[in-house]
């Protein structure tokens, strides 16, 4: 029998607002424990929340970028449960009236395109962090309490780990573009929950699902989906029924285990948050945010093909992330050679980034520096191979390419007089080669060129050198 995997995802994204959702504490990541707190995000008695307008703006922007309807009327609700990382013992979230509904995102896996439905996006607050490794017992860091989140909930439209990954990457790409989040998974800015069930291929009925929470990387997402789908198929093949439960993914072991069953599931006792007023958005407000949306990846890719005449592959790679696209566009403005820039950005820069453990976000060279380098190559002042060395040196030292070329004496020798003297010497020293050429063996030119390059330490302009060799050899043969 053939089985089909059915996956729905919930993606939590930390919004990149400067301050928290209900108070003015900073949201900055990686600060000392419990330094970004106040009575409001600590949930002390008597304090009240005030909704950060930027959170509404960012959520609206995210919703529009993911093709959602934006609600003119939505409200905040309380989700009640006890846990030490939740100071108020309720998470302020949205229950029945979320800010965004009904979006979709197109993904492509193995050349097949597919729309993934988005059920809803709602606004909520993040919880704190428990630090279990302390010798004094468990400690609590509340810096993250009240950091604004959006939760994106999909329809059960995904059918494989690859699709799940493609969707997650696409969402990250779009949200990073719109500037609502940095989507840094290593900092917990983007986290996945996966709802997964198995059914016979062709069946219209959904199987019993399990939920896996807090997958913090694409790798974890893929492995968790693969593991859980395999586990469920084996269970079904054994004739067992799948138990509806929440499972915990152990990324180190690569296995999942039951966290709590449906019976043990929390009753969150949602009810409208009485300390906040409903979120009422005028159509003009939504239109304004829509008009201010930046160009999204799909549109950008098409524009690169149309405007810069780049191959689809190049356009796709350059628009994968907003920072890459920005680097490209800043370079093109300075130097209208899109294909040359594209080649260097796709081929030469990535290995250097990898070597230095950098990314496009914290790349140490500027578009202006890259352009300066590409102009040196284009104008034959240095060879392509030299250019690669110079680029490496730029990554190492941060110096400008022109200075590196000068300091290291890497400029190509195009001075025909100087070069001709060297060639004359080499040709004279290799009468056998001249003889071979005279006998019609053109390959001997290659040997002579190699000798010239060796003598000039590669600085000879290859084209000029070749012409001169032919002239000098002809003179010797005459």
């Amino acid at each position: 029998m053939e089985y089909e995997i059915v996956i729905g995802m919930e993606i939590h994204i930390e919004l990149g607002t400067k301050t928290k959702i209900f108070c003015s504490c900073p949201t900055e990541f990686g600060q000392d424990e419990n330094t970004h707190t106040c009575p409001v995000c600590l949930g002390m008695p008597g304090v009240l929340p005030v909704l950060n307008e930027k959170v509404v703006e960012y959520a609206t922007r995210a919703g529009l970028a993911l093709n959602c309807e934006i609600a003119h009327f939505s409200k905040m609700d309380r989700k009640n449960y006890f846990y030490p990382d939740l100071p108020k013992a309720y998470q302020t979230s949205q229950f029945d009236l979320p800010i965004c509904t009904g979006g979709d995102v197109e993904i492509e896996v193995d050349g097949v395109k597919k729309d993934i439905g988005i059920t809803r996006i709602h606004i909520e607050e993040d919880a704190g962090k428990l630090l279990h490794e302390s010798a004094d017992g468990t400690l609590l860091d509340v810096n993250r309490c009240g950091v604004p989140l959006i939760e994106i909930v999909t329809e059960p439209d995904l059918r494989s780990a690859e699709e799940a990954r493609a969707f997650a990457e696409k969402v990250r790409n779009i949200l990073e573009y719109t500037g609502v989040s940095d989507c840094k998974m290593e900092q917990g800015s983007m986290r996945f929950d996966v709802n997964l069930s198995i059914r016979e291929k062709g069946s219209e009925v959904l199987g019993t699902r399990t939920e896996m929470k807090n997958l913090n990387s694409f790798r974890a997402l893929i492995r968790a989906v693969q593991y859980e789908s395999k586990r469920q198929i084996i269970e079904i093949k054994k004739g067992h029924t799948i138990i509806q439960e929440t499972r915990k993914w152990d990324d180190t072991k690569g296995t999942s285990s039951s966290l709590r069953s449906k019976e043990e599931a929390h009753d969150y006792r949602y009810f409208p948050e009485p300390d906040l007023v409903p979120i009422v958005l005028e159509p003009e407000y939504i239109e304004k945010i829509k008009s201010e949306l930046p160009e999204l990846p799909e549109a950008k890719k098409q524009r690169y093909i149309d405007e810069y005449k780049l191959p689809e592959y190049d356009a796709g790679v350059l628009t994968t992330t907003g920072v890459t696209a920005r680097f490209f566009e800043e370079s093109v403005v300075l130097y209208n050679e899109p294909k040359q820039i594209s080649n260097w950005m796709m081929v030469e820069i990535p290995p250097l980034l990898k070597e230095k453990e950098l990314s496009m976000e914290n790349i140490t060279i500027t578009p202006a520096q890259l352009v300066e380098l590409l102009k040196l190559v284009k104008n034959n002042e240095i060879s392509g191979n030299t250019g690669k060395e110079v680029l490496k040196e730029m990554f190492n030292t941060g110096k400008n390419p022109g200075d590196i070329v000068k300091e290291k004496g890497l400029a190509q020798m195009s001075d025909t007089g100087e070069l001709e003297a060297i060639i004359e010497e080499i040709v004279s020293a290799n009468p056998k080669s001249v003889e071979d050429i005279g006998a019609g063996n053109e390959k001997a030119y290659g040997f002579l060129t190699g000798q010239v390059m060796k003598a000039t330490k590669g600085k000879a302009n290859a084209q000029v050198a070749n012409e001169l060799i032919r002239t000098v050899v002809a003179r010797h043969l005459a």
Binding site: P39, L42, G43, M44, P45, G46, V47, L48, P49, V50, L51, R78, N80, F82, P84, P87, K88, A89, Y90, L140, D267, R269, Y270, F271, P274, D275, L276, V277
Partner: protein, 490 residues
């Protein structure tokens, strides 16, 4: 009349004429506290030394200044559920026995700004849940009119401090009658303003959609003076109304000629003490002589208000009080096995019976499977009650009702029967459900000499009209700044 017995506006006259100093005024009320507080137990904590120091400092400053603001240098008390930086704020609960807030309630900040002199924090029912102040974890406050009777609640301490002249005014909070009912029981003026008029920031929440801070005063004019200072927009409270400031003393004494005063039979039903009824009939007669028009009005759905109130307030309370888990501040059980045990023991030992009862009731009402039948239905009732009031105020400017069905009852009389206790709020809770303002003013004494309260209600933001109507009655009846027999006994 002793200095401590005077109203704010009387003290203002003396201070402005420099006939007394703030220190003399403060010393007088501190002496009064030293004499009678042991009988009334209105306060949970006192700041009398700090108050005298503040008074002295203010006198020095005022000597070089002609003008003072109306509450400047007037000693007052705050209900112990309003946060005061560096001063214990316990909500009369063991759970917050050591809670020292690092921030001020907005109302406290406004009173500091205005030069008020804080005397202390007043006793209350634990987390404002109760109608007699007997649910305090710390002490029983006694009614100065009869020390064997309750002061009402939950703001019992605040009502008693004003009634016993141990403060010139106090602030209380009113979720279902917690200002108006004790004001009625203690023979003072108490007002619950329109929801959103006074900032709730720093008021420890009981039921967020119903809670509202308001004043206890010795007469109606004082009520207007206090309201002038505590009303106003606060960006820290999202439910705070952003309106232009008005001076509530401006039209206070304009009279009630032509004012339509509604009387609804639904407020004069079963269980109403005969003397209370009689007293209100006398009040109606006074209004007639003053030129007000008395009209009959009626409600369709008022019967459901009390049930809806207990559903909504308990549901919100169950969520608001969940934060008291022993993790970050306040009480923590001494021994526990694990996290869940820590929660259970802390909450079992830290909360009193009534608080636990409401948490359980509210948790149940919000639970999956019961939500529609209880919480949701209660919210629907809330909408209907609001519509009921809208319809009633279509036919009158002000509604006149008893504040409570009876005068103050005996200490311990209703503690074993929560439902009977809840019924004492039957005339006050619909007001919170509708978010409208209400004021309770003394309108007589019963056969045992206990004060009776009249409640005046109006549509949203009708405080000015209510104060005007209340002042006219007080002025005509002479029932103002009543003195409990306490003063002569001690």
């Amino acid at each position: 009349m002793e200095l401590y017995q005077k109203t704010i506006h009387e003290i203002n006259d003396l201070l402005d004429k420099k006939e007394v100093t703030v220190t003399e005024v403060t010393q007088a009320v501190v002496n009064r506290i030293n004499t009678v507080e042991k009988s009334t137990d209105a306060y949970l904590s006192l700041q009398t030394e700090a108050a005298l120091e503040a008074a002295k400092a203010l006198d020095d400053e005022l000597s070089g200044r002609a003008k003072r603001t109306p509450l400047e240098g007037i000693p007052y008390g705050l209900k112990d559920n309003m946060c005061t930086k560096g001063i214990l704020t316990t909500c009369a609960s063991k759970m917050l026995y050591n809670f020292n807030p690092p921030y001020n309630a907005e109302v406290y900040d406004r009173l500091i700004e205005d030069g008020g002199i804080l005397l202390g924090k007043t006793n209350m029912d634990e987390f404002a849940m109760g109608s007699s102040t007997e649910n305090s974890a710390y002490k029983k406050t006694r009614n100065p009119w009869d020390l064997n009777k309750v002061p009402g609640g939950s703001s019992g301490g605040s009502a008693v401090a004003v009634a016993a002249d141990t403060a010139f005014y106090t602030l209380g909070s009113d979720t279902g009658g917690s200002i108006r009912q004790p004001a009625s029981f203690c023979g003072v003026v108490g007002m619950k303003p329109t929801y959103g008029l006074v900032s709730r920031y720093g008021l420890v929440a009981f039921a967020s959609s119903l809670d509202q801070i308001g004043p206890f005063t010795k007469d109606v004019e004082d009520c207007a003076l206090v309201l002038n200072v505590i009303v106003g927009h606060d960006a820290k409270d999202s439910t705070s109304l952003n309106l232009e400031k008005i001076d509530y003393t401006q039209n206070l004494k304009q009279g009630v000629k032509g004012l339509k005063i509604g009387v609804a039979k639904e407020f004069f039903g079963e269980g109403l003490q005969p003397e209370v009824r009689k007293s209100l009939e006398d009040a109606i007669a006074i209004y007639k002589t003053l030129g007000a028009e008395i009209v009959d009005v009626s409600f369709q759905h008022l019967d459901y208000a009390l049930s809806a109130y207990y559903m909504i307030s308990s549901a919100e309370a169950s969520s608001n009080l969940a934060r008291y888990d022993g993790i970050r501040y306040g009480f923590r059980a001494e021994e526990y096995n694990d996290l869940v045990d820590l929660y259970k023991k802390t909450r079992s030992q830290g909360f009193g019976d009534e608080v636990k009862r409401r948490i359980m009731l509210g948790t149940y009402a919000l639970s999956s499977g019961y939500y529609d039948a209880y919480y949701k239905k209660a919210m629907q009732v809330r909408t209907i009650i609001k519509a009921d009031f809208d319809q009633v105020f279509g036919g009158c400017d002000v509604l006149l009702t008893p504040t409570a069905p009876t005068t103050a009852f005996g200490i311990g009389e209703k503690t074993s029967n929560p439902l009977e206790m809840y019924l004492t709020d039957i005339y006050t809770v619909p007001v919170n459900i509708a978010g409208i303002p209400g004021i309770s003013v003394p309108c007589g004494l019963d056969n045992n000499g206990m004060p009776i309260g009249m409640q005046l209600l109006g549509p949203i933001l009708s405080e000015e009209t209510l104060l005007k109507a209340a002042w006219a009655f007080e002025n005509e009846s002479g029932l103002t700044n009543l003195k409990a027999p306490l003063g002569t006994e001690v």
